[in-house]
C-alpha cells in the first residue's frame, strides 16, 4: 500500500523555538489518522507543513508523492481546515459555494448543499451569524466539496459541544465512505475518545517529537499492561520496552511494548485501550522531559 503522507526528519523552528523536531511519520493511503498530543506539541505545525502553508526548516515531507508546493496540481489534492474555521464571516454559505466553484477545478457543490440541507443549516445566512457547530459543518462540507485526496483537519471539533462534535464526525465519516478508500485523513485533536470512533491510524506528538506512529489495531496488539509484584523490571526491559511504570507498595503495573511473549509467570498480561496507550506515551515524555530538566538544573 502506498503512503499518502511520508515525512523524514521534518523540522520547523520559529526563531529559537522548535515547533517540530525531526518528525518521521508515514500515513498509508486511505487511512483516517488521529494526530494526538498535548497543546503545543506541534500538531498544527505538522498539518500546516503538509498543506504547504508553511515551509520546513529541515527534513522532507511528501504528500501523494510530491513535496507540498504552490502548484495547482498539488493544491487540488489537499483539503485543509484550520482550527479557527476560517470563513468569510460576512458571506453566506452560498457565497462560499460559489467562491469554491470559481477556485477549484473539481467542485461538488451539490455535496455541500445536500449535507447542509440535511443538517438544516441555512445557505442564505451570513456564516458569522451561525453557531460554532454549524460553521464547522459548513467549513467541512466546503473542504470535502473540493474532492481532495488528502484531508488535513486541525482540531476542528475542539470548540464544539458533544452533539455538534458527533454530527461533525458523522459528516467526516460519510465523506470518507463516499471516497471509497481514495481519501486519506489526518485529524488532530486532544480528545482521544472522539478519535477512537473514526480513526484507524495514530500519530502521537509530544514536545515537538513523534512518540508513536502506526495502525491503531497493530499498536494495541503490540502493547500490553503487565500487572505483577513489585520487583526489579530489568529482566523485562531486556526484551520488551517499558513505556510506563506505576508502582504501589506491593504491586507494579507496567505498560510495555512487546517484543515477543512474556515468559515471567509472575506477570498477568491485560489488553490496553487507546486512551491508556496515548496517556502512557504522553506521560513517558513528560517523565523524560522532567529528567532532562533536572540534569540541566544540576549542571548549571
Amino acid at each position: 500500500m502506498n503512503a499518502a503522507i511520508e515525512t523524514h526528519e521534518l523540522s520547523k523552528r520559529y526563531r529559537r523555538v522548535s515547533a517540530l523536531t525531526e518528525c518521521t511519520v508515514t500515513v498509508p493511503e486511505g487511512r483516517v489518522s488521529a494526530l494526538v498530543g498535548p497543546n503545543g506539541a506541534g500538531k498544527t505545525t505538522l498539518l500546516r507543513l503538509l498543506a504547504g502553508l508553511a515551509s520546513p526548516t529541515g527534513g522532507t515531507a511528501y504528500v501523494l508523492g510530491g513535496e507540498p508546493r504552490q502548484d495547482p496540481a498539488f493544491l487540488a489534492e489537499i483539503g485543509f481546515l484550520a482550527q479557527e474555521i476560517p470563513l468569510y464571516r460576512r458571506f453566506t454559505a452560498e457565497d462560499h459555494i460559489r467562491i469554491g466553484a470559481h477556485m477549484n477545478p473539481r467542485w461538488d457543490a451539490s455535496l455541500v448543499r445536500t449535507r447542509l440541507a440535511e443538517l438544516r443549516i441555512p445557505l442564505d445566512q451570513r456564516v458569522g451569524t451561525l453557531s460554532g457547530g454549524q460553521r464547522a459543518q459548513v467549513a467541512l462540507a466546503l473542504t470535502l466539496a473540493k474532492r481532495p485526496r488528502v484531508l488535513l483537519l486541525d482540531e476542528p471539533v475542539a470548540a464544539l459541544d458533544p452533539l455538534a462534535r458527533r454530527n461533525f464526525l458523522a459528516t467526516l465519516t460519510s465523506g470518507v465512505a463516499d471516497a471509497a478508500g481514495g481519501l486519506t485523513v489526518v485529524l488532530s485533536s486532544h480528545l482521544v475518545t472522539d478519535l477512537e470512533r473514526v480513526c484507524d491510524h495514530i500519530v502521537l506528538l509530544a514536545a515537538s517529537r513523534v512518540q508513536l506512529c502506526g495502525d491503531i489495531d497493530t499498536l494495541l496488539a503490540e502493547h500490553k499492561i503487565l500487572v505483577g509484584p513489585r520487583k526489579d523490571t530489568a529482566p523485562i526491559e531486556r526484551t520488551h520496552t517499558v513505556v510506563q511504570t506505576v508502582a504501589t507498595a506491593r504491586q507494579s503495573t507496567l505498560l510495555v511494548r512487546l517484543n515477543g511473549p512474556v515468559i515471567d509467570p509472575a506477570y498477568q498480561a491485560e489488553d490496553v485501550t487507546l486512551e491508556e496507550l496515548v496517556l502512557a506515551y504522553m506521560g513517558a515524555d513528560e517523565a523524560s522531559a522532567g529528567k532532562r530538566l533536572t540534569t540541566v538544573g544540576e549542571a548549571s
Binding site: 502553508l53 483539503g79 484550520a82 479557527e84 476560517p86 468569510y88 467562491i99 470559481h102 477556485m103 477545478p105
Partner: protein, 326 residues
C-alpha cells in the same frame, strides 16, 4: 477568482462609487458656473490679455478648495482599500481558506492586486480629468497649471498618486499583517514621499533654463512656465534673489547712494537710476524656470516615478506572500 474579488468588494465599491459620483457632481456644477463666468469675462475683455489678467478670478472662494480635495480622495481610497487587501485576510485568518483552494498564492494576489490597482487608477484618472476641466479657466487666466499645487491635481499625475498609494497600502499591510498600523504607515510614508519628490526632485527632472536680461528692462517666460527663482546677479557672479531687502545690502556703494532711505512708490525716478547704475556695474537680471513646453514631459516623468515605485512595492508584496508562512 475574479468572482471572489467582486463578492469581497462590491459593497465598499458601491459606496466608493457613490461618493465619487457626489464629488463629480459637485465639481461639474461648480465647473459649469465658473465656465459661464469666465465666458462673460472673455466677452468683456474682448481679447485684451492685460484686461483678462486684471479681472478677478472666476473661481468662487468657497469651492476653490475643490482641487485640494481631489488631491486627497484617491490617496485615502488607495490606502483604505490597499492596506486591508492582504492584512485583513491575515487578521481574519481567511488566508487559510483562500490558500487552501486550487489557486496558487501568486495567482490569488495577482488577481486581487490587478483589479484593485485598476480601480485605483480609474479613480485617480476620473478625478484628475474632472479637476483638469474644472481648472481650465484658472489655467487660461493665470497660466498657473505648472505651479506646485496646480500641477499636482491635474493631468495624469493623480493616476500615479492613486496607484502608488494603493501599492504602498498593500505592501504595508502585507508586511505588518495588521490593517490599522498599515494604514498609518502608508499614510505617513505617502505624505513624506510626496513632499520630498515635489519639493526636492520635481524642479530637477530636466535641467532648468536660466534667462539673463538687462536689469533696466524686464523679462517673463512665456505661457504657463514654472518659475523656480529670479533676481539679479553681479559681474562677479553674486546672486541676489528677488526682493529689496537682500538687494540693498548687496548693492555697490555708489548705487546704494542713489536710493533714498527706502524705496517708496513715489520714487520711481530714482529707482530707474539705481537700475542704470547696477547695469553700469555689470549687474544682470535673471529668471530660472521650466518652460511651459515641459508641462507634459514633467507630468509623464512624475507619473512614471510613482508607477515604478508602485511596481517595486507590488514586487516586494509578491515575494513576501510567497515566502512567508501563513
Amino acid at each position: 477568482m475574479t468572482w471572489l474579488i467582486w463578492r469581497q468588494y462590491r459593497a465598499s465599491g458601491a459606496i466608493t462609487a457613490a461618493l465619487l459620483a457626489a464629488f463629480a457632481a459637485a465639481i461639474l456644477a461648480d465647473g459649469f458656473q465658473i465656465a459661464s463666468h469666465w465666458h462673460s469675462i472673455l466677452l468683456a475683455c474682448a481679447g485684451n490679455s492685460v484686461c483678462l489678467q486684471q479681472e478677478p478670478s472666476p473661481v468662487n472662494g468657497v469651492v476653490s478648495d475643490l482641487p485640494y480635495l481631489s488631491l486627497i480622495v484617491p490617496v485615502v481610497l488607495g490606502i483604505l482599500w490597499g492596506a486591508p487587501l492582504v492584512a485583513h485576510e491575515f487578521e481574519t485568518r481567511t488566508t487559510d481558506f483562500a490558500w487552501a483552494q486550487t489557486v496558487t498564492r501568486t495567482r490569488w494576489l495577482a488577481v486581487k492586486v490587478g483589479w484593485l490597482l485598476l480601480a485605483g487608477a480609474a479613480c485617480g484618472g476620473v478625478i484628475g480629468a474632472l479637476t483638469t476641466w474644472w481648472s481650465g479657466p484658472t489655467n487660461a487666466q493665470l497660466a498657473s497649471a505648472f505651479d506646485p499645487g496646480q500641477f499636482d491635481t491635474q493631468g495624469i499625475v493623480p493616476i500615479g498618486y492613486a496607484v502608488f498609494a494603493m501599492a504602498l497600502g498593500i505592501a504595508a499591510g502585507t508586511l505588518a499583517r495588521r490593517t490599522l498600523p498599515a494604514i498609518a504607515v502608508a499614510l505617513g510614508g505617502f505624505i513624506a514621499l510626496r513632499l520630498v519628490i515635489a519639493d526636492l526632485l520635481r524642479p530637477h527632472y530636466l535641467a532648468a533654463v536660466t534667462t539673463y536680461y538687462n536689469v533696466t528692462g524686464s523679462f517673463g517666460p512665456s505661457g504657463q512656465a514654472w518659475v523656480l527663482s529670479q533676481g539679479a546677479v553681479s559681474r562677479t557672479g553674486q546672486v541676489v534673489p528677488e526682493g529689496w531687502g537682500s538687494l540693498y545690502a548687496a548693492l555697490p556703494a555708489s548705487c546704494r547712494q542713489l536710493l533714498p532711505s527706502g524705496p517708496t512708490a513715489g520714487k520711481s525716478a530714482s529707482l530707474s537710476a539705481v537700475f542704470s547704475c547696477m547695469q553700469a556695474h555689470g549687474w544682470r537680471g535673471f529668471v530660472t524656470y521650466q518652460p511651459a513646453s515641459r508641462y507634459w514631459p514633467f507630468q509623464g516623468i512624475e507619473t512614471g516615478i510613482y508607477v515604478l515605485l508602485a511596481a517595486a512595492l507590488i514586487a516586494v508584496t509578491f515575494v513576501i506572500v510567497n515566502r512567508r508562512d501563513a
